[in-house]
């Protein structure tokens, strides 16, 4: 008797709770707790999937940025290849902005960029490193005093417009109504075509530039090998300036930055040691370098490709 009443009761409850449920016939799925958790599962999956997609995109950026850095290292004063290499590097960097960062920006459109920071931060930092390294060479190439650009500059470069047909068609109807707001790019996402950007976090920028010092140190040492002693002294000076810039920062709770500053100090010390050697036995090194000039070049290229 009590059994029967219990079952009746159960059925009634279930009907009330799950009128809207789709083909859930098992008692397990009729459970209200399970029902809400199915929604939570979808939400979590969506978040995790987006995260993984961004990680993949970021990895592509990392790989391409590393290749561009290696390419830039092949610039050699004796080969006169500076403008050619720079042109290619710049072209490839622009492509990364226009293709890879756009894909990430699409994924992050309407999301909180800080939530997925860990997913895209390695790629972004590597890219900033490559970009600033390119700018470093450029500032030497042009006669005008070029300096490194800040995050605002990159931010301006990473503005995109949505170009898929579907969206423009659906938004077409709103065009007339929305047009007065079209000037307001930042806030109005419904304008045609839809504008969005990849958010460049200043902290990521600073961390990316910190990695640049490693490349500068490498360049300093390579230049010693090829006998370009003036380059050694020059990169060393840039390194020292960067280092003093970094130690002037007062940032709490950023372990990543202090770790990078420590590494930077090692790089600065190495470069300073190179300069010391140039000064003390500079003439000898240059002569020695000239003798093995061709052989050194081959080694250099092999390392980078």
């Amino acid at each position: 008797m009590s059994q029967n009443s219990r079952f009746r009761h159960n059925n009634r409850r279930n009907q009330q709770k799950h009128k809207t449920g789709q083909d859930s016939n098992f008692s397990e799925e009729l459970n209200p707790v399970v029902k809400v958790f199915q929604e939570y599962a979808l939400e979590l999956d969506d978040k995790h999937d987006r995260y993984e997609r961004i990680v993949k995109l970021s990895r592509d950026i990392t790989i391409e940025s590393k290749r561009i850095i290696f390419l830039l290292h092949t610039i050699d004063g004796r080969k006169n290849n500076r403008s050619k290499v720079l042109e290619e590097a710049e072209k490839r960097l622009t492509k990364v902005i226009e293709v890879n960062f756009k894909s990430i920006a699409l994924e992050l459109n309407g999301q909180d960029p800080y939530q997925y920071r860990c997913a895209y931060s390695p790629g972004l930092q590597e890219f900033i490193e490559a970009y600033s390294f390119m700018e470093y060479y450029k500032s030497g190439a042009d006669e005008k005093p070029g300096t490194m650009s800040d995050w605002m500059f990159l931010q301006q470069k990473m503005q995109y417009e949505r170009d898929d047909k579907l969206n423009t068609i659906t938004d077409e109807s709103q065009k007339t109504i929305e047009s007065p707001n079209q000037l307001d790019i930042e806030t109005d996402v419904k304008t045609v075509p839809q504008k969005f950007e990849f958010f460049v976090d200043p902290t990521e920028y600073i961390l990316g530039i910190a990695d640049l010092t490693g490349e500068l140190m490498r360049r300093c040492i390579n230049s010693l090998g090829s006998g370009e002693t003036d380059v050694c002294l020059e990169t060393c000076k840039v390194l020292q300036q960067l280092y003093s810039g970094y130690i002037s920062l007062n940032v709490q709770r950023c372990r990543e930055l202090s770790r990078k500053i420590y590494t930077m100090r090692q790089s600065v010390l190495k470069a300073e040691n190179v300069c010391y050697n140039v000064k003390v036995r500079g003439g000898e090194a240059a002569k020695w370098g000239a003798v093995f000039e061709n052989k050194m070049n081959d080694d250099l290229d092999e390392g980078f490709y």
């Binding site: 707790v33 939570y40 599962a41 470093y136």
Partner: protein, 238 residues
């Protein structure tokens, strides 16, 4: 090339970071207020482990503290710039989880069902979706629920000590539902996953309690209430 380094970048960044640190300082003040309120609510709820008759009073007292938290959360949400929830969220995730736990506990004690995310968000004056502003993160909600599971396993043993043999059965049923709910989630190898792995020990603990009282015939065999029946009864009486 020697002029390559632009030291202005560093001074600009310093300004940027100073601004951020100031916001963080303000957040810490508000979070501390919430922590204090949550602590009081936690203490009030401890009475359930020693006196079953005081449960209703404890729940009411805890609800008051929780309600005051909503006001502080509002002030907190005003500090956070729009769309930067996750930039600062590490300050309050812990305490939000704690509050989810407290709310879930109160709702279970009063009504016997699992509190929904929407309800928790409403009680704390938060939004459900991140697009609407300062919201209750789903992972914080789930973490809070898992904390409640541990507390319930403790509560089950203590209610037996206090002579209530039916309550562990309700809790056991409730936990079984919760467990099957959590099994639906595809968890990554993160904090939530680790916390979820502890759930099975809580479930096991309660099952042992149920086993102990069943095998000794301590539970009332004639009525044999299911969790849902009592849950329904408690809802009507509450």
């Amino acid at each position: 090339m020697a002029n390559f380094v632009n030291l202005e970048v560093f001074s600009n960044y310093q300004k940027y970071i100073d601004n951020e640190q100031e916001i963080r300082e303000n957040i810490r003040i508000k979070v501390r207020e919430i922590e204090q309120l949550a602590k009081e609510a936690t203490i009030q709820l401890q009475i359930i482990h020693s006196d079953l008759s005081k449960i209703d009073g404890a729940c009411q007292a805890a609800r008051k503290q929780i309600a005051s938290c909503a006001g502080v959360y509002k002030q907190l949400s005003e500090i956070i710039p729009h769309g930067q929830y996750y930039r600062y969220s590490d300050h309050w995730t812990y305490i939000t989880q704690r509050l989810v736990f407290l709310i879930a506990m109160v709702v279970y004690l009063e009504a016997g069902f699992l509190v929904k995310r929407e309800t928790v968000a409403e009680m704390l004056g938060l939004q459900v979706s991140h697009t609407e502003g300062f919201h209750l993160d789903i992972e914080d909600y789930l973490m809070g629920i898992l904390q409640m599971a541990s507390e319930l396993s403790r509560f089950a043993t203590n209610s037996v000590t206090m002579g209530d043999y039916d309550r562990p059965l309700n809790i056991s049923h409730f936990m079984a539902n919760l467990n099957s709910g959590f099994r639906l989630l595809n968890l990554k190898n993160d904090g939530l996953r680790k916390r979820f792995d502890a759930l099975k020990y809580d479930v096991k603990k309660i099952e042992e309690v149920v086993y102990d009282i069943s095998i000794r015939g301590l539970r009332n065999e004639t009525t044999q209430p299911t969790a849902e029946d009592t849950a329904a009864n408690e809802t009507t009486s509450a």
